[in-house]
């Protein structure tokens, strides 16, 4: 009979010690916030354009963390979708056409002699890249502009153009190859010839 009590006491002791350590660990290793949202936010292009249907990149990052589709970011395009898929261990899916298509990167340019100084584009700009004051001519800070198009619509005299970004020796890069990796859906075409 004695060994029975001993067994119960030893097991209870073991459970108590483990419980205490786990309880301590729960406080010591408490996860504050959701670090995955930060990682997703870092991958998004930060244009704050709202084409995904969210008010900015951060809210979209939170929505992705909660399971929204990763293909709603036209400015980021295919490369962003691929990076997100890598991070979240999802399949790469094509861009959702409903939210816009991937275009050449552009920045806004204000034709300064036509500008009447109404400040409407300043209010529309999500990244404060437009400089100017009421009744004064406005201009765009090129380095800050994300090319989100949001300032074009409110301009009453249509003096804002979206110009493609000039390629400089620093920003030029090779064209990416169109199709390098055999797709799994058509093994017959590639299976025999592919080396990798």
């Amino acid at each position: 009979m004695e060994i029975l009590y001993l067994a119960v006491v030893i097991l209870a002791l073991l459970a108590l010690v483990f419980g205490a350590i786990l309880g301590f660990a729960a406080i010591r290793f408490k996860v504050d916030g959701d670090p995955i949202v930060d990682q997703i936010d870092n991958l998004l292009p930060q244009t704050q354009c709202g084409q995904c249907g969210h008010p900015g990149c951060r809210p979209y990052a939170e929505a992705i963390a909660n399971g929204e589709a990763i293909n709603r970011c036209p400015p980021g395009g295919e490369s962003t979708i691929k990076n997100l898929a890598d991070l979240l261990d999802l399949e790469v899916i094509p861009l959702d056409a409903e939210h816009g298509s991937e275009a050449i990167r552009t920045i806004a340019y204000i034709r300064e002699d036509e500008c009447i100084g109404c400040t409407k584009c300043i209010q529309a700009c999500p990244v404060d890249a437009i400089l100017g004051a009421a009744k004064q001519m406005h201009t765009v800070i090129v380095d800050e502009c994300t090319g989100c198009d949001l300032c074009v619509e409110p301009c009453p005299v249509d003096c804002i153009d979206m110009l493609p970004v000039q390629v400089t020796p620093a920003s030029w890069h090779w064209q990416q190859p169109k199709q390098l990796i055999a797709s799994s859906s058509s093994p017959h075409e590639h299976g025999a010839t592919e080396d990798e």
Partner: protein, 193 residues
């Protein structure tokens, strides 16, 4: 020193836990469809298996044996393993949220990985000492990781290969696992432990 080396060779190759002793087969089939997931699972299992092996040895030697309570070994080992896994999950969640997201459900499932309980019980059966227990657990985990990663790499290639329709999917995976197991039988007799 040679003894320790022999334990490692024995557990990694000759008596490989997955392919020769057929322990831990569910993660072997379940987590092997992607190489990255397999690597994450291998890391987590290596950590848990080594730590669980050590903890269960300590529990047995200093708590159960002195009181003559050897019959409690299975239940107390399960307790120890559950504790180690839970603790690992908390640490991983805090330090590497990405790994935590990749492992997902599989981390808690290590609790029911029979290789973990198998190692703890085999340690007692073989009367392994302190260092031997740790090495035995570590070797078992390395062996598990080795075959899991090899198998995941093979399966990634098989999915794009031209497999006859009736063998597609799980069937060809089972067959390749069997062939791998046959290959590992070739190590029999390399070391006698």
């Amino acid at each position: 020193m040679v003894d320790y080396l022999l334990i490692l060779v024995s557990t990694v190759l000759v008596n490989n836990f997955v392919l020769v002793q057929f322990l831990g087969l569910c993660p072997f089939m379940g987590v092997s469809s992607r190489l990255e997931t397999a690597m994450g699972m291998s890391l987590a299992t290596t950590f848990v298996l080594t730590l669980a092996s050590l903890c269960s040895y300590l529990t047995y030697t200093y708590l159960l044996e002195p009181f003559g309570l050897e019959f409690l070994q299975t239940i107390s080992f399960i307790l120890v393993i559950a504790f180690v896994v839970q603790f690992t999950e908390m640490v991983v969640h805090k330090t590497s949220p990405l790994l935590h997201k990749v492992l997902g459900i599989f981390l808690p499932l290590i609790t029911t990985n029979c290789a973990v309980l198998g190692v703890a019980l085999l340690n007692i059966k073989k009367a392994n000492g302190f260092v031997e227990s740790i090495l035995y657990g570590f070797g078992a985990a390395i062996g598990f990781s080795l075959v899991l990663i090899l198998f995941a790499a093979m399966r990634e290639r098989i999915t794009v290969a031209d497999v006859p329709a009736p063998f597609k999917g799980a069937a060809i995976a089972m067959i390749s696992a069997g062939i791998m197991s046959l290959a590992f039988m070739g190590f029999t007799g390399l070391v006698a432990i």
